[in-house]
Symmetry: C2
Subunit: 358 residues, 2 copies
Amino acid sequence: MEKKVTRKDIADIVGTTVSVVSRALNNSGYVDAEKKANILRVAEELGYARDPVTMSLEEKRTKQILFYCKDLTNAFNIALYYGMVKAAKGRGYMALLNANLKFENIKEAMIDGIILQNNYFADKYAETFGKNYHLPAVSACFGAGRNPAACIPVIEWDLNEAMEKGINYLRKRGHKKIAFAGQYSITSDTDNRGITWRNMMAEVLGDRLKDYYLDVTLPPYSTLNAPDKPGYIIEESDSVLNEETYADKGRIAARIFLDRQLDATAVICFNDEYTIGFVTELERSGMRIPEDLSIVSFDGVVGRSKLYPELVSITPDPMDMGYRLATLLLDRIEHKKIHYYAKQPCRITPGDSVRDIR
Amino acid sequence: MEKKVTRKDIADIVGTTVSVVSRALNNSGYVDAEKKANILRVAEELGYARDPVTMSLEEKRTKQILFYCKDLTNAFNIALYYGMVKAAKGRGYMALLNANLKFENIKEAMIDGIILQNNYFADKYAETFGKNYHLPAVSACFGAGRNPAACIPVIEWDLNEAMEKGINYLRKRGHKKIAFAGQYSITSDTDNRGITWRNMMAEVLGDRLKDYYLDVTLPPYSTLNAPDKPGYIIEESDSVLNEETYADKGRIAARIFLDRQLDATAVICFNDEYTIGFVTELERSGMRIPEDLSIVSFDGVVGRSKLYPELVSITPDPMDMGYRLATLLLDRIEHKKIHYYAKQPCRITPGDSVRDIR
DNA sequence: CTGAAAGCGCTTACAG
DNA sequence: CTGAAAGCGCTTACAG
C-alpha cells in the first residue's frame, strides 16, 4: 500500500514547485511548454490522481448527492435512484445511496444535498433536523395534487389523479364493480389512492363499499402478516425494512378477495410488488388473469411488471421522476431558479391484465 | 441558505482562538472550565457541526466504503449491502452504493475502500484499474472453493458445495431425476452450479443429461428474452441492467420444462428471482408445488423466497456474507491481519417446496 | 491554561 | 514564465 502521490512529489522530481505543477495539470496560467510536458509525463508515470477530499475542501462542493431512502427492497425506489444517477452523472455529480442514515448523521455525510423518499420524511426533516441545518433538500411526494406544508421543494405524483385514471380506464372497458387492494386500513386517510377510490366508487357500491376494499390490516387476515419472518434489521431499535413486505400483503389481499367471493370484475392493487403476491395467490386458486379478473396496478416498475400477462400499471415513470428530482436538487444547489412544486405526470402502461367486457 | 458556521466563528464570539475552541469541542487538552462551557453553549446555539470534508483531509480517512455493484434489481445484492451497512455502522463507517461508477471514476470517489460484486469484477479490477491505483479492495466470489488468481481478498460462496448440498438434500428425500434451470448455456463453464450438477447427474441421467438442463440460451426460447423491453440504461454505451431479468429467464425455463415433458421430480433453479418466474409460470399451467414438482433454489433472500409454498433455498445468508465482506475490507483498511481467502458457509433454508417421495 | 505555528493537498492572485 | 504566500476548516505539538 504505497503512499498516494501528491503534486509536491511531482514538483520535486521535475524540479519546480507545486504552483507550477498545478498550473500545468489544470491547464491554467502560463507554464513553460517543455516543463509542462515533463510534468504531465511524470504525473502519468506516477499514476497521479488529484485528491477528491482536498478538491471538495477547496471548492466547497463534494459533487455528491444522496438519496435518503430506507427501503431498497421496493423496486420503485431503485428505479427512482437509477434516474437520479443518470441526472447526476450528466452534471458531474455522483448520486449515492445509504440505507441506514439517520437524520443526526447527515452532517457527517460528505454531500451537497439530499433527496427525501417521500412526504413523510420531508415533513419529519423540515420539523427536526432541517430546522437548524441548512443542507439543500428536495423530496418525492405521493399526495393529492397540492403543495405540502413543508418548505422543501417537491416533485409530486398525484395519486388522486392516478387512481382516477385507473378507474376511468377500467370503466371505459365496461368495468363497474372495481375493488381496491391497499395496504392501509379502510378508515385511514394516509393514502390518496384509497380516498379517491372511496369517493369514486361510493355511488356504485353503496353500502357494500367497504367489502370491496380489501383491508389487509383487518383481523384475522392481518395476523398472516405477523412479523415472525426475518427482515433487514440493522439494529434492534430501528427495523428498517420489516414493515415492507408488499408481496405478502398482496397475498393476504387475494385471500380476502377469495373469501368474500366478491363479484368485482376488476381489482386495483397498491403497487407492483404487491400485485405480484396478489396475482400469484389468485392463480394458485385457479383464477386466470384477465379472463376471470382484470388487474390494474401502480408504479410501472421495469422488470417487476413482467408478470405474464403483462400488467396494466399506472406509472409516473419512476426513472424519469428520479431524474427530475435529482435535477431539481442540483438546480437548487447551484442556485438556479426552481419551482417549489412540480407535478410528475403519470400514464397507463399497455398490458394484458385488463379485459374489455363491454 | 446561511453560511456554515466554523470554529473561527465560535472563537470570535467567545473571544478566543480556534485552538481553544478545538480543544473544548474535542475534549482534549486543557481549557478553562468556564470558557469551555461557554464555547459548548455557543456551538450548540449556532448549530455547529464539524466539516466532514475537512476531517477527512485531516485524518486521511473518509470513513466511507463503497459497494461496487451494478445490479440493484437483484435482491441478493441488496441483502449483501444491508449486511455491509451493519458492519460499517458498527465501526464508525458509512457503506455507500453507487450504481453507475466506472473504474476510471473511482479515484474521484471519497472512499477508503471498495467491495467488488463478484469474481468477474475483481479480475477486471486487478488487471486494469487496481494495477496502478492502490485503493484497498475486497471481493465477493461465487466459485468453486479455491482461491482465485487475483490478489484481492475474497469471501467465497462455494457453489460447487452449494449445488452438492442441494442435490443431496433432494436425493435424501427420494428424488433421482433432478433437472437444473440455469442462466448460461449447458456448454458454459462460467457457472459452478451447472458444472457440479453435470458431474453429479451424469450417471443417473446418462445420454439424456442435456435434456434435464433447461438451457434458456437455446433458440427458439432465447428469443423470448430478446431485449425489446426497456431496462435501466444510464447511457447508450453501457446497458447497466438490461441483461438481468432473472424472473424472465425463469419463465422461459418453465416453458422448456413443460415442452420437454420431463419426468424429473425436482428442479434446482438458478436463484430466487429466477425461481419466482419459474414457479409462477408452472402454476399457471396447473402444476402444483410441491405436489407435482419439487423446487430447490439458490440465495435465500429475505422477502423474496416468500412464495407460497415457502421455497427451499440454498443460502449463504447474504446479509451475513455482506457483513463479513465489509469487515474484511475494514480490517484491511485499518491494517489488521487478514486472510486473503475465506469461505462463506451455506445452509438450506427450511420450506415446503420439496416433497418427500420416498 | 492559551495562542501562534505548521501542516493535510490543493488553488489562485500577485510580486518578481 | 515562476514561486512564495495566503487560504479552505480543522488538528496538534510547543513555546509562552
